[in-house]
Symmetry: C2
Subunit: 337 residues, 2 copies
DNA sequence: CTGAAAGCGCTTACAG
DNA sequence: CTGAAAGCGCTTACAG
């Protein structure tokens, strides 16, 4: 049944075949310039003939290095994170890293498990989009082991750590100011999770916009939910059943906005005409939705790219100063408001 | 500057601290039942105290095994693949694998490079969605090294290899029959790349549907393109400028359909009223697009799950028969036709 | 359960 | 450039 698989071809085999020492062969796989071209040719030829495959794992073990990067995000099925991952991936590949992927679905337990797995796999660095309930202990563990880490999207308070994220406050401020500027007096803020900093920050922007416009906030127009389309669908119905319903909606994310749009239609409203809406993220779907969604762009892919660049720098230069990169959001006006 | 990082805590250290042999400690990290509970407790306690992190890489090197799986897809930014990856990822995690991610953007060169990287990283198995120009040699290389592989989405002709894909022919047949059944005589087939089997299969379904309905095909209504929204936008304009334009459009994918919808509006048509449209894939965006897209569901996530299951089986039982899993698509009727 | 030894495939350091 | 040796952190096999 099991014809024993042929033994793996080793660098030793290649060296013998090419008539050189193992040390020389090792120099060649590592692209060292200290080898005569003629020797190099001969050895490469032998590798070809024998079907040699470099064993990066063994090499990393010996040299105590690693070219794999752990990337932990919330959900690949969420376009926002898919775009972010895209940015991370493209940037890291440029530098020859390969990425080990993990998804938490915002569960702390999963996050801890994933971090352990990544560490056990000797990642050379970690890119973490922390779950909402993360405490700084999560990351302390990693820092103690001296492995380079950068945080994305969500910052952990009181933690000296590289970070790439968005200016959520300004994003929310811009969105809400846009709605107030259209004459709305009752602007709801729906979706997202109260406890998370990404929600709190938006809330601050929402508040400042109201203060500047001299409009009172009705706390009943602020309802949180799971950060999904289903969450948006549920919460829009709650808020519209208010005695004195809002005339415009600021949504925590585009996903929430899509749920809200579906909900509004169900209730007989025409989103974008009866009720103005603005989303957050500007995921690709926002452009083709009906009505096309006015939203705050959070540049997911760029965020990913910058986070990857930062991690690369941190790996190359562990002693460098902690850096925080805050991306400025932009309002993209379309037809929903 | 560089305070030398503290030496990694090894199993040896743990054993010494707990007063047991290294062999015993090794049994414990591997969850062997052959250890007395009291000993286990003592050792786990020591690990905790010392901050021990299991080195899976070293373990795999010694035991010649691997718990990482390479997954190579075309594009994470494309929701179809993101959904597929989601399925793969969830299933593999269940069995304790971690996934190494690669994206080809349909470039053969990138695919070859990625495969090399995966092999060098000693993956325990490979899940490959081959680029359109793949030849069977690509995969032969992997099979020779005896590493388990399963193909997804696109099958390579003349290759004995596990495969999970869709019945594209039936999918196209169902879609086109739906349009012909609504009385259309001129149904275009736009987008996708001629050379790829995923296109050819759809073409067969398109043809059979026409034959059964007794309607002649006008070859000028068949135009290919890049499989992107931009591709769809370009090609819809070409086909609508025909002397005798189509009254309905069968699109290679939802992405193409979204491009087509935008293009039709630009030209003054009302998609779903003047011109009927059906897409392919049923990505999440299809539901919220305007008009909501009638499309053929290709169950991306399920495909991913099945492919992952198949790979797991292949790894556990290398001698088992080659298996092909063909998923039956379903027409999802919405408002675009 | 222990203890000592060998080995996975590589890199490193060193004398020539 | 070569050659012989040691070591990365683990598992394996074996005698006790």
């Amino acid at each position: 049944m099991t014809t024993k698989p042929p033994r793996r071809v080793t660098l030793q085999d290649v060296a013998k075949h090419a008539g050189v020492s193992r040390a020389t062969a090792s120099l060649i796989v590592r692209n060292s310039p200290k080898v005569a071209d003629s020797t190099r040719e001969k050895v490469l030829q032998s590798m070809e003939e024998l079907g040699y495959v470099y064993d990066r794992v063994a090499a990393n073990l010996r040299s105590q290095s690693s070219m794999t990067i752990g990337t932990i995000i919330t959900d690949v099925g969420n376009t926002f994170f898919a775009q972010l991952l895209l940015g991370v991936h493209q940037e890291l590949e440029k530098h020859g890293y390969t990425v080990l992927l993990g998804t938490t679905y915002d569960s702390l337990k999963d996050q801890n498990r994933l971090i352990s797995t990544m560490l056990e796999n000797r990642v050379g660095g970690l890119l973490l989009c922390p779950v909402s309930e993360s405490s700084s202990e999560t990351v302390d563990r990693i820092k103690q082991l001296n492995i380079p880490i950068v945080l994305g999207i969500r910052e952990l308070s009181g933690l000296a750590c590289d970070y790439v994220g968005l200016d959520y406050k300004t994003g929310a401020y811009t969105a809400v100011t846009h709605l107030l500027g259209k004459g709305h007096k009752r602007v709801a803020f729906i979706g997202g999770i109260f406890e998370s900093t990404t929600w709190t920050e938006r809330m601050i922007g929402y508040r400042i916009a109201h203060e500047e416009a001299g409009i009172e906030i009705d706390d009943k127009l602020i309802i949180d939910s799971e950060p999904t389309r289903e969450g948006g669908l549920k919460v829009i119905q709650q808020v519209m059943n208010h005695d004195n319903p809002p005339t415009a909606i600021f949504c925590f994310s585009d996903l929430i906005a899509f749920g809200a749009i579906i909900g509004l239609r169900k209730m007989g409203y025409t989103p974008g005409e009866d009720i103005d809406i603005v989303g957050f993220d500007n995921i690709p779907e926002a452009e083709i939705s009906y009505p096309p969604l006015t939203t705050v762009s959070s540049f997911a892919q760029v965020t990913g790219t910058k986070a990857a660049k930062l991690l690369h720098k941190r790996i190359k230069e562990p002693g460098r100063e902690i850096q925080r990169i805050i991306i400025e959001p932009e309002l993209v006006k379309r037809e929903s408001s």
